[in-house]
Each structure stands twice: as C-alpha cells, then as structure tokens.
Amino acid sequence: MKVYLDYAAATPVDPRVLEAMLPYFAEYFGNPSSVHSYSHKAQEALDKARESVASLIGAESPDEVVFTSGATESNNLALKGFAYRNRDKGNEIVTTTIEHISILNVCKYLRGEGFEAVYVPVDRYGLVDVEKLAEAVDEKTLLVSVMYANGEIGTVEPIEEIGKIAHERNVPLHVDATAAVGKVPIDVVKENIDLLTLSSNDLYGPKGVGALYIRRGVKLLPIIHGGGQERGLRSGSENIPGIVGMGKAAELAKEEIQTEAERLTGLRDSLISGLLKEVPESYLNGHPTQRLPNNANMRFSYIEGESLLLGLDALGVQASSGSACTSKTLEPSYVLLAIGLKHEEAHGSVLFTLGKGNREEEVNYVVKVVPGIVRRLRILSPLTPKELLR
C-alpha cells in the first residue's frame, strides 16, 4: 500500500484546479495589462481569483488581496513592506519563537536595518504566552506577527485574542496563516487581522503562487519594483495560470472546509490514538485539541526520526521529521526545542500530515506497521532500556 502522509510539504494539485488553469497557458494567454482584447479574459480571470481568495478569508473587498509568488514572499512583503513604510510608528516587531523560518529570517534581516525583534515564548503545547505577548507590546512596537497555526506541531494559536490586544495598543497584527487556510475557517475581520499570508501550495493549488491580505487603510511599501501591478505593491506580469489555480483552489476550499475538517479530524485522531496505544513510550507533540485537523506529530523514545522515515518509506509510507539528520543544517527542529523537548526527544519525532487522498484503511495500515519499525530500531539503539525489549 502507498500512503502519502506529508501533505504539509506538498499537496497534489486538485484535478478541478488543473482543469481551470489549462486554458490560460496557451488559449487565453494574454497579459492583463495589454490594451487589446487579449487582455480581457486574463483580467477577468485575475479578478475572479481575487474574489475567491478574499471570500475564503472573509475579507471585505477583493482589493485587499495582493498576489505574490508564495507564502515566503508574502511574509517578506508584510514585514519589510510594513516596517519600511511605517518607521515613524515604532521600530520593534513582536513575534514568537515558533514562526516559519521566513518570518524568523526576515526579522533577523530587519535587525540589520535598525529594527528590533522580540520573540515571545510558547508553552509545552506550543501555545503562545498571551500575557508575555501583551507585556511585550509597547510604544516601540510597530507590528505583531503571529502564525495562525504551526504547521509542524499543529497547534492553533488564539489569534482573535492576540488581535484584540494588539488593537487595544494601536498595533496591527500580521498572521502567517499558511498552515491553517482551508483547514480551519478564518475571518480576518472578526479575528482582528490586518495582514494575512496564505499560499496556494497548501490548498491543492499550484506551487509558486500565494497572496497577502492587506486590510484597507494599512500601508506598505513594495519590495518588488517595476511596472506597478497589484496596485503598485507587487510589480511583474501576473502569473495568470497560477493565480487562476489559486483562485479555484480557494473556491473549492471554502465549499469543502467543513466536511474535510471533520473527516480529517477523525482520521487524525484514529492515527494518534492508534499509535499511542500500539507503541510503548510514544507521545504526541503539540496541543491535543487546539490543533490542525490534519496534523499528527508524534515522538518515539530512544530512536531517531530519519531512520524511522526510511523504514516507513520502504513500506510505502511517506512522512517527515524534526530530527537533525533530516534538516539541511543538521540541527533539530527549533519548534520542537521551543516547546521544551530535549534534543534526543526532538530527534525521535515524526510528522504525519493528512490530506484529501487519505482513507481509513491507510491510517489502519500505518498503525499496523509503525510498531514493528520502531521495535527494530529500538533493538539497534544503545539507549533502549532492557525492559522495553522484553
């Protein structure tokens, strides 16, 4: 059996999305900026996609959506664009220790440009310490940036509450919602969100496209200069097929979010409880209930993640891990360390992320094969206590 459980890394493009995109490659290939009629279809498609994305996140107007090349670019635009435009309002960004690497590296970069960054810690479930965040937001604070949910450990953050605190102090809130969009309902107005990052890749849309929601009234400087597309905020001829794909993906996500979330939650919980039951000394990473419907991040004592992934791959199961050996830098996941795991615990973690293609039989198969792989690796490991191998 082949079981793909790494949806967080990449999702296949939904066939309906692909179908919507195809005409825009060779048939309606015009540039929306052209004067002649070839631009019309492209412009219509661009407008429609913008509406779909706006609708998915509860934006008041499609004009509040800017298309980019992906979540990383959206994060760059949000933080750099806002910081450069609003230097007079403050010079400090308040964010968390478990943000996506693009947020962390942009903050690092901005520190060289005269800005400061404060990293609010999280508890052992990955929940942001809201009190510490409130303390950190002061007159120097320019922007608060907190992820909607963490794609590695699955924990969903109390965004509405954080937004309220930020607004009480007149500071806007940026939310990197890449891991959450399409999985949990998001309403930027109700949740006090001023800037929101989302990606097509996580929505069963094509890679290389994303968006940034910018509430009307919030001002940014562009980071890509040129012909002035996207209201001057993101120059460059628009990736029409990609954007059409993202729009269609957003439309489908909005229709299916309720049923998919329920379905995935059921599968996720079967997987988690099955593994906790069948594998001794196994633990869940992240919050048990405030978590993304598709995320099961587990850790297994005394063994290492990459060897577990290889064992799984040989049996047809694709997953991911926070161990050092699986990262390019040979450092274990900073998210797992931020929630207080020891290095060896972080090394023994495996991340399963579910998606549209997964069924109950697949979850049962994984619960069936994992104990054997873990056991084999525990026999090899010098760390395993003898009682465990009886």
Binding site: S307, A324, T326, L330, H343, E344, L380, L383
Partner: protein, 119 residues
C-alpha cells in the same frame, strides 16, 4: 541501504574486551561498538546505534569490515573506506561514517588500555 535494512552484528557483548562509544543523543547520533579480541585479532564484534539511516549502515559496515582483522589493520580503517564500502555517501552524511570508524578505534584503544593495565 542493504546495511540499513539488514544490519549485521547488532547487539552487545557483556564481557567485551573493549568498548568504544562516540557521539551522544543530544547530537542525534550515538554508536557503541563492542569487541572480543583473541590472539591480536577481532574475534567478535557487535554494535548498537541511535541515529539516522547512514549512521546505522556505517556502523553495520564497519563491524563487517573489522571482523577477523588484526588490531593494527582495524585501527587503519578510515572514514573514507567505510563510506566507499557502502558505495559512497552524500557529503552531508559523511560525518556518520566518521563516527563509525571512530567508535571502532575507541573500542580498540579501550582494549589496549585495559590489557596494559592488567600486565
């Protein structure tokens, strides 16, 4: 990959003549090699590893290479040789073959120290 899926010489030797441990769980790689020495040769050798696929494969391979060798020959086994015997390793994994060769050398050094203490 063969050595990862079917590692050889897994286990411990309770009355080992030499034991070598390298790495630690904090780094994500840890290997322990046990040897039994008879007439200057490695008569038996076993290993235990906490680590990635390459770590497991290299420790298995180094035990296969060292079995039956004289201590001198075994001390000469280099990190590159272990990687070569496996058919090469990606550069990012070379440190795993380093650990395997080092663990073997430590076990031999441990034996030499213990036996010189006896005399």
């Amino acid at each position: 990959m063969e050595h990862f899926f079917n590692p050889r010489n897994v286990g411990e030797i309770p009355d080992a003549d030499g034991v070598g441990t390298v790495g630690n769980p904090i780094c994500g790689d840890m290997m322990t090699i046990y040897i039994k020495v008879k007439e200057g040769r490695i008569a038996d050798i076993k290993f235990k590893t906490f680590g990635c696929g390459a770590a497991i494969a290299t420790s298995s391979m180094v035990t296969e290479m060292a079995k039956g060798m004289t201590l001198e020959e075994a001390m000469k086994i280099s990190r590159e040789e272990v990687a070569d015997e496996l058919g090469g390793l990606p550069p990012i994994k070379m440190h795993c073959s380093n650990l395997a060769a080092d663990a073997l050398h430590r076990a031999i050094e441990d034996y030499l120290k213990k036996s010189s203490e006896k005399t």
